[in-house]
Each structure stands twice: as C-alpha cells, then as structure tokens.
Symmetry: C2
Subunit: 328 residues, 2 copies
Amino acid sequence: MKKLINTPETLLTDALDGFAAAHPGLTVDLEQRIVTRPPSPGKVALVSGGGSGHEPLHAGFVGPGMLHAACPGEVFTSPVPGQVQAATEAVHGGVGVLHVVKNYTGDVLNFALAAELLDDDDIEVATVIVDDDVAVTDSTHTAGRRGTGATVFVEKIAGAAAEAGESLAVVHELAREVNARSRSYGVALSAGTVPAVGRPGFPLGDDEMEWGVGIHGEPGRRSGPLAPARDIAAEALDAIATDMPLTGEALVMVNGMGATPLIELYAMFAEVAHWLNARGVTVSRSLVGNYVTSLDMAGCSITVMNLTPRLLDLWDAPVETPALRWGR
Amino acid sequence: MKKLINTPETLLTDALDGFAAAHPGLTVDLEQRIVTRPPSPGKVALVSGGGSGHEPLHAGFVGPGMLHAACPGEVFTSPVPGQVQAATEAVHGGVGVLHVVKNYTGDVLNFALAAELLDDDDIEVATVIVDDDVAVTDSTHTAGRRGTGATVFVEKIAGAAAEAGESLAVVHELAREVNARSRSYGVALSAGTVPAVGRPGFPLGDDEMEWGVGIHGEPGRRSGPLAPARDIAAEALDAIATDMPLTGEALVMVNGMGATPLIELYAMFAEVAHWLNARGVTVSRSLVGNYVTSLDMAGCSITVMNLTPRLLDLWDAPVETPALRWGR
C-alpha cells in the first residue's frame, strides 16, 4: 500500500485537521467529527454525511448554497447517530433540517436513529434517501439501489432552495425530485485500498475492468476486458436510459473515482456528450472532475439528471463551498 | 496500461473535445489546438501552454481574471511555435501579451520562436519563465530549474493585474516577482504512464518513493523507502526554506499529481501547515487539490510563496475559470 499518510489510524483526523487549516471559514470539530458553517436563522439547514474516502463528498460541499454540516465516518464506515445529532443541533435554524443520506444500510440506520434522538429536541427532521445507481438492485451494503453521484445534485439543488428560504416540505420534495430524475453508473479500472486493510478491495486482472462498480468497490454487473472510452460511455448511458428515458435538457456529471486524471475524464465526457446529443438530449450543465471518489480507485461514474427550468435555476444559484463554487 | 481513453493517438483531441463540451463559454479550436476566451481590448492578455498531461494546467485556467489562451501540446510535448502564435493573435487586446512559460527546453525554445514571429505582427510580447522547483539544478528536460506549481500562482496574480488594466511592463514585473517569491518540491509514490508509451515512466519499487520528482517523472534527488506524510512535508519544506527563507504570510499549495485522492492531500496539507506555523509562517491562503498533474502519477508537490499585501490582493481578485473560481 502506497499512500501519503502518517498511519491508517490517524488518516481521518489528519485529513480533517488539514481541511480545517485549508478552509478557515468552516468549523471542524475534531472531537465530535463534524464540519459546520454558522446556522442560518429562519432557514432550513441541510446535513449530510457518510463514510470517509469519498472526498470532496461531503465536507467539501459545506458552505452557503449547499450543506450546513457534514458528518464524516471512518473510511467507508457510517457516521454514528451522535455525530449526526450533534451536527444537526449545531446548525439548525429553527425551521427544520433535511438529512441527505446515501442509500447504504449503515447510513440509513444511523441517520434514522439520529432523527429519533432529534425528535426529543424538537428539531423537525426530514430525510431524503439517494439511490441513483442503476447498476445493481441490491448490493453488498444496500437494500435497494446504491446512492452515488446524484448526492451532489441533491445537495446543491436542495441547498439552493433552503438558501432561498423555502420551507422544509418544499426543500424535501425538491430533494426527492432530484433523486427521482437522476441516474448513475460507474466503472473501475483498479480497486481502491482501504488504509486499515492495506490491500486492494477487490481482484481485477491486468487487462480487466469492473462494470457497474459501487463507490466502495462493491461488485457491479460483471468484470471484463478493458474497453475504449466510447464503449464505456455507451454501455453506461444505455443502462441509465433503459431505466429512465432521457429527454430535453440534462445535467451531466463525469466523476473521477480518485486516481483517474482529468485528461481521461474529459475524454470520457466527450463520448458522453456525443452519445446524448445523438439522441436529442441537450447537455445544459455539466461537472467533470473528482466529486464522489472511492479512495484511490481508478475509474469514473456518469450521472445524468433530466432537468426542469426550476431545477436548472436552483443549480445555477450561487454556491460557495470548497469543492463547488460559483456566483450568478 | 489501464486508462479511460479510446486510443493514445486520439486522447488529446478527445479530451479537448470534452473540454469544449463542458465549458461552452470558452472556444476550443481543435485544428489549431488552442483554447481561448474573447480578447479584452485595451488590456494585456496572458497566453500559456505546454505539454498535455498536466490538467487542469493550462486550459483549465483560461477565463476572466487569469489566462486568455492556452496552447496544449501532445502529452509531455511542447506546443509548436505556430500554435503559440495563433493563440496570441487570437486574444491580444492591442496593448501587449505576456507569455507564461514553464522552464523546459522545448517550451522555452518554441515560445521564443513564437515571440519572434509575433514581432513581425507588431504584437508586443513579454515572457516570464517559471522555474520554482528546488529539487534539482538541471534536469532531464531543463537547463536550470524546472517550472511547476508556481505557474498557477503566476497565471492567477499576473492575470488579475492584467484584468485590472495594468500595463505589460507592470504585469510582466509582477509575474517575475511571483516566480521569484515561490518555491516547489514534489514527490512521487508511483510513475505516470504516457499513453503512447504504455508503461510507467520510471522504475519504483513496491515500497519506494521518489524525492524531488518532476512533473514528467524526471528523476529527483533520490529514491528511497516510502515515508510518512509528516516526514515528506518536513523534507520538502526544508528544501524550500533552505533555498528561500520563509517569513510572514504565505500562499501554499498542496497539489496532487493525478492519482492521489483528496483525503491524502488534506492529510499532507495538515503537516505542511503545522510545519510552517511552528516556524512563525502564517498560511494566509491555500489550494489543496489537483492543479498541476503528471498523468496518473501518485504523489504531490508543495509550493510556497512569500506574500506581500499587493500580491495577496491580486490573489483574492475574482477569477472564473474551469479550475479556479471565486468572487470577492
């Protein structure tokens, strides 16, 4: 295992320490393991979290226009209910909190337990479960589909609605709509290595790739010979379009899994854009880069969302976080 | 070799094609291989370029507040003089153009040839050579020091001065000042693979790392056993501080080489910040992420610049490019 770390045991604390030093506008509580920005009184707050190893998700999306707080668990391990509770208490603005939860059994359970604890606090909590990955129906860590790239879309768009002063009911409904309109599919060229384990998470031959892989290296649909970018884009988009017809304007993300350089992600994005254009779908907005990673896995995921004018407006609204940042 | 590409021969064109689709506000000329934004009449324009494989450098830094044009060569290969000439002609605003050139023999030569051609055009050109890498005095591809991470600082700060309407002489002098105040040092945990070659660029044992590596995998000071993040930060910063005393406020970048995930870069940044703080240096601004990569090399580089109030102001000025983006 080759990593820029001190020890596997201290990696998360070290990374949060570095995150705090790099982003002085955010507050990192190393004891409670929560990353927060100041509460916005009278506005809905968004809290998300999950296992670490997917950076910049979630802490990189804390900031005006997106999350109020993130709760990072250990690498590939759910945050505990007390963490979620502490984060929610720290950032709520008095009018309710939306929990954004990727569909993994541990995350769903621990966020649900946190919501029960918060009920005693008189903090109203709504939860959106993100389950956009079309590759498999159930997986190693999931009942139902896995939650992957669409999490970024949910956090951005629901965050913009919260920033605009929408009620918890509206923000919650928008978050569910974004999830319902989004689908993802991922591939791996190599497995990531969990630092505490020290060896790659799954076997993959020298000329092989994994189709439909999850962001923890969960098996996908099959492994097979390494394919050209064009064929990967076509198979991924076929899987997505079979599950949800793609029409009109789309928001598209080509997301790096952690060890894939940007030159390859742009080459992939070219194929994705051509495939969609050829089928009458307009790529209205896009993200190309590392947003939902899987440690040092090589590969990418493709996420497509069918846009509406309102969702596009909320996507375009100003955002200022470490990983996503734009003005009007 | 495992990459998300169609063929090594088409990679650059495919990536530029994807870049164009992802960033419709910029113009990509696939024939001439230049990436431009519209000229700003009456303002100095900045043009940069170099071999591909270092993305987001340079095309990712084209936009208001930074570059006007980028000329990508083939992977690890200098752009040709005609490319630089075409880019300069396309974007100049009538009051001169600054060429930002990393110190590699081919780049320096081809930009100099382009400047001669432009002389006939009556376009005034000034050139800044970036040579911030303290690791080696001369290298495989260089007479003198290599140009690496400081290129981002030069392009941002000189770009802000140009945007503010400063003269070519002032923009040029600021660019030289930024280079003079910046130092870098890089390490590799694995070698990158040039697609057309198909195998890693240099040998490195399973438990080894390269100290002082260049962004084309040029040999550094030595290879040796893999060290903890803390020791890597200390040795890199010792090399930098020995060459240029660090005092007061600093702008610091921990840059990923392409295959290193963000969680590791933040862990490295924690060590860098602690080292600097312990020596009385304040980290006033920072970048943590992939900015000057080396294909799929694992590793990072550290760049430190001694700030002045004016340079800090220019760093903070608004910028809107694919890879660097903020408002006031």
